[in-house]
Every structure is written in C-alpha cells, then in structure tokens.
Amino acid sequence: MAAYPHVIYMDNNATTRVAPEVVEAMMPYLTEAYGNPSSMHTFGGLVGQALKKARCQVAALLGADEEEITFTSCGTESDSTAILSAIRTYPERRHVITTRVEHPAVKNLCENLETVTGHKYRVTKLKVDAEGMLDMDEYEAALTEDTAVVSVMWANNETGVIFPIAEMARMAKQRGILFHTDAVQAVGKIAIDLGKMDIDFLSISGHKLHAPKGVGVLYIKRGTLFVPFMAGGHQEHGRRGGTENVASIVGLGRACELAQEKMAEENSRVKKLRDRLEESLLSSIPKSMLNGHKTNRLPNTANISFEYVEGEAILLHMNQHGICASSGSACTSGSLEPSHVLRAMGVPFTAAHGSIRFSLSVYNTEEEIDMVIGSMPTIIENLRKLSPFWKG
C-alpha cells in the first residue's frame, strides 16, 4: 500500500479527515455487525439500534428531534431532495429564491429548473455586496405569493461568510413559504438550535464533519409536507428508499457527538490559529487582501487574494511544501471562469485569480501555522518575480 505523504492540511472546507474515534465507531459495522437493519432477526435488529443511536446523536447536535432526521448519501442529495420536495408540494407556485453564491449543488439545480422545464420556473438570485453579505430589503421584496421555496446557505464554503438564516427563515414562514438551508459548512463549526427556528429543511454533509464521504443528512421539520426524492423501500420512514449506509451513518453519529464536544475549541483555539495565519499573511505580504466579511464568518476560514499572481501556481508551490489549500482561480475551477462567489462579490479580476482559501480544523497546530507563515511570503515573492504586472 502506497504511503500517503504527510501534509499540512488546510483544506477542510473541501473535505475533512475522518476522526480516529469515528473510524473506531464504524469498524464493527464493517466487520461482524453486517446485518440489514430492516431484518426481523436480532442480528439485523442490533444494527437497527445502532442507526437509532446515530439518529439521536445527529438530532442532539442540531437541537432537533430524531424523527426529523433523514439520512442521505451526501449534502448534494439532501439539497436536491429538499428543493424538489418543496416545489412538488406547491406545484402551482413557480418562483424560487436563492443567492448568487450558493454551492453548485443548489445553484445548478435552480438554474436547471429555469431552463430544463421550458421556463416554467423563475429563479431570483439574491446579490451579495463586496463583503459577501446579503441585502435584506432585496430579500423581502423578492418574497411573493408565487414563491415555492427559499434556499439560502448558512455559511459560504469559499469565504466562510455567515448568512442571517434565522431571520430569513422567519420572514419566509410569515408568508407561508418553505425555507431550506444548505448548512453543510456551518454544522459542527457554529452552534445550531433548530427547535427554536423556522427552518423547514436543512442539509448536512458527513465528510465536512470528520465523518466519511458518502453520507449526509436532511433535516425535515416535523409537520412539513414532504415528497420523497428517492422512492423505494420503507427505509427512513418512507422518506428515502435504499438500504442504509450503516457504517457511515454510525460514523456520522459519532462525528456529531464529537463536534458538540469540540465546538468550543473550534471557536477559540482554531479561530486563534486562523486569525494568526490571516493577520500574518496580510501584514507580511504586500498587495494582499481578505475576501469576505471580517467578523461575520466561520471561525476556520480565511480566503485571501494575492494580487498579480495566479492561484494554481500558488497552490502547486504550496504543494511542494506539503501545504494543502484551494483557490478561486479560473485554472483550478475546471471551467475558464474564476469562482462565481468572488465574482458575485465584485472582487476585481486582479485579485480573483490569485485567491487562496485556507480552511482549518481542530487537527491543525501552532507549528503548522508557523510553517505556512514562513513559506507563503517567499512563494508569492517568487511568483511575482515572474509576473509582468508586478513592478518590484
């Protein structure tokens, strides 16, 4: 088996390491406890109980009831399930509200709604300002009698900016409009208490939470009318067919438990690491700037632009040092355009192509921050020497 290189991993918004405690919790379900939780025999029934426990663990992290938790395969499935359910619940309503900075799972679904259905649906994409924040007046004006659903992310994956979901859900509820939030980046990083909120649907992705890839959750508020996306067996109380991904679900449950335990650390120690990294880079490297609101942000994310150099080139040099991060540049997106999030924020093209996203976790250390702070200035300086736009 090839040995994986040791890295300084600062790309946690892309995916996270599976916590050792989570792996341990999963192992029995990958070895001796392989029964089908729907079976009659005890062998399956014991597995069913493990699922139930995981459901309670997830519910506890969200301040929800266990009946409100449905397991899916990923955040994307949860997003599709929620939005399609909402529009099928109100088929005579043909308007959808979302934002310009959503994850492709929501963004592309909404764009397809407009075009693939022969323009039966109209989608409003709320704008963001230079700091990535929404305009509540624009949101209020967009809510109409024709609106079937609002889908707004809780926290942005690229910048970490947090949206006022509680208020937005309340405003939607007042008008009888269903509210969905893609909380994939927010869960586990900031406290969430759904019992007190007007949110109808919420998406979670396991692999952003130190659980394995291939598992997600859709929270459906009790009493919400629901049309299943994946029909099939009676699993998940008929809400989502398909034999459960038991091991990963058990893992996710344990991960949610861990997240509750580590929430304080995420918002103190990890936040301090992020702040130190950010302040040092911004002060030691000229013509660098932060993308996104300075304080209204997830505690682990720093999206920084370095002018006159390009993102992929920066990442590959960082890679040489074993540092893992992402970029909003065109070259790294697979398309020819830079990040739609940075564009929506009006980040000038001098900066958009040279943006790097650092996203930390509880596994990062002070020494790792030291190493990154030590390497970045030289990396940027060397690339600037190559750049025709950098005037020494």
Partner: protein, 278 residues
C-alpha cells in the same frame, strides 16, 4: 488535479529565462489579468536575424509558466523566420503534452511570439485599447461596441451573453445600457425587469396563441391544403396537431419548428416551445 508531465513540472518549478531583455528588438505582450493569463516576451535579435536572447514574464498557472519557459528555450539561437513557424502544438509537444483544458496556454505562447516578431519587423498587429467598463471580466467599451455591431445586439442581457460584461456583480449594467443607447440609438429593445413584468395567465396565453395561429400561421398552411389545431398549452410547451396535407408531409417537423414556433415566438412569447401531438 491536473496530470502534469515531468517536463511541465520541471519548467514550472525552475523556469528558464525569466525577466526582460534590455533594449529588446521585439516585444510581445498578450493576455490580461482579466483572463487569468498574460505573457510578456522580449527578444534580442542580431544583425543576421538570429534570436540571440529571449526572456519572459508570465502571470498564470503552471501550464502558462511552463509553456513560456520552454518557448524561450526553443527559440534561442533560431533564425526569426524559423521561429515564426512554431505552432502551439510544438510548444505542447516540447513539454511532453498538456491537459486539453490547458492547451490555450500554449496558444498564448505562440501569440506572444507572433506579436514579438511583428513588433521586430515594424508591423503592428491591430489592437486598440479601450476603457474598462466591466470590472469583473475586464471588458472594455470597445469590446462591447464591437460585439453590439458584429452580432446586432439589442439588449444588456445579450451583451452579457456575448461578452460576459455584466455577468459578475452586475454593477456595470447602467454603463452597458448607455453604450447600447449610443451605439444603436432608437433600435434598443425595451426590457421590463422580470420581477415587474406581469406574467401572462394561461388563459391570456392560449387566446394570444390562437389569435396568432389564425392570423399568421393558418393562411400559409391552408394554401397548401393543410391546417393546424391547438391541442394544449402547459407553461411554455405548446402542443399542436397538423391537419390535412400537412399531417402526412415529410417536412412537418420543419413546419413546426421553422414556421409555427418562429411565429409564436415572435408574436406571443420568445420562450415558447412547440411540439406536435403524437
């Protein structure tokens, strides 16, 4: 993510001939910050028309940097006429190949070489500068005007589709409207913003479609012994049934799309999709 060859990685990590030639014989400056790719190539050419030195400065990804670096190595010592024959394929090959999404980086190398040689020979490749109107994509007013004229654009939305201007933060929309006004004057399309535009009710839509079919479509079909009947309207989908000679005609699909759909899009709604009832 990209599968880069060893050569590409080598040239990226240790680029050759970085910098600017002093008192260059020819300079090629291509690309822009907006595109995310830019290359400045400077050449020193002697009295025998041989490229004795070449240096580059690049803003771009690993492919862009590697392409520039390998290009300078290729042309050093070459007669200008020979260098002028270098293609982007040559550059990619010299690197052992590039991912297909990155081939445009090799094209940029060739363009810079072309520009540098043209500069040396005293020819200027026509490229007028304009004033940037759209900050997000670096689109100039000249780019917009050219697109408007070349493609007969009549609305801001069309400008965005053709040039990307206005497709980012949206703050330049007013400027674009002003340019459009100046360029085409009275022929501008007045577009009511979607939120204010009153949606046609199904009933209104059906009545309008019937009207247009009767006035614009039926006369032409009846002349040929055919006819058309409106079967259903659902959202933007219009189902029709051809009658008489039209029904058995081999060109019925053309009739539906190029004639019926065209007329309905022109007189009722541009988004209508016409289908035949099977």
């Amino acid at each position: 993510m990209w599968e880069y060859t060893d050569k590409v990685q080598q040239h990226f990590l240790s680029p050759q001939n970085v910098g600017e030639v002093e008192e260059p014989s020819g300079t090629g400056d291509v690309g822009s910050l907006a595109c995310g790719d830019a290359l400045k190539l400077t050449l020193k050419i002697d009295a025998n028309d041989i490229i004795v030195d070449a240096k580059f400065k690049t803003f771009g990804c690993a492919s862009a940097i590697a392409s520039s670096s390998v290009l300078t190595e290729m042309i050093k010592g070459m007669p200008v006429d020979e260098a002028a024959k270098i293609t982007n394929e040559d550059i990619a090959q010299a690197l052992g190949g590039l991912p297909k999404e990155k081939m445009h980086c090799s094209v940029m190398g060739r363009e810079a070489l072309e520009a540098a040689i043209a500069d040396y020979r005293g020819l200027t490749l026509p490229k007028a500068e304009g004033e940037v109107v759209c900050e997000c994509f670096g689109v100039t007013d000249l780019d917009v005007i050219r697109a408007i004229k070349e493609s007969s654009l009549r609305s801001v939305e069309e400008i965005t589709n053709f040039t990307k201007a206005g497709g980012g933060c949206g703050k330049c929309e007013d400027k674009l409207r002003a340019i459009l006004q100046e360029t085409v004057g009275g022929k501008m399309e007045i577009v009511i913003p979607r939120m204010v535009q009153k949606k046609m009710t199904a009933l209104q839509k059906i009545k309008k479609i019937e009207e247009v079919l009767e006035r614009e479509v039926r006369p032409g079909l009846r002349k040929d012994g055919g006819d058309i009947e409106l079967v259903d309207v659902d959202g933007d989908f219009v189902t029709v049934s051809l009658r008489g000679t039209c029904k058995s005609c081999s060109k019925s699909q053309t009739t539906i799309k190029d004639y019926v759909e065209k007329k309905l899009r022109e007189f009722v709604l541009p988004s209508l999709i016409v289908e035949e009832n099977n």
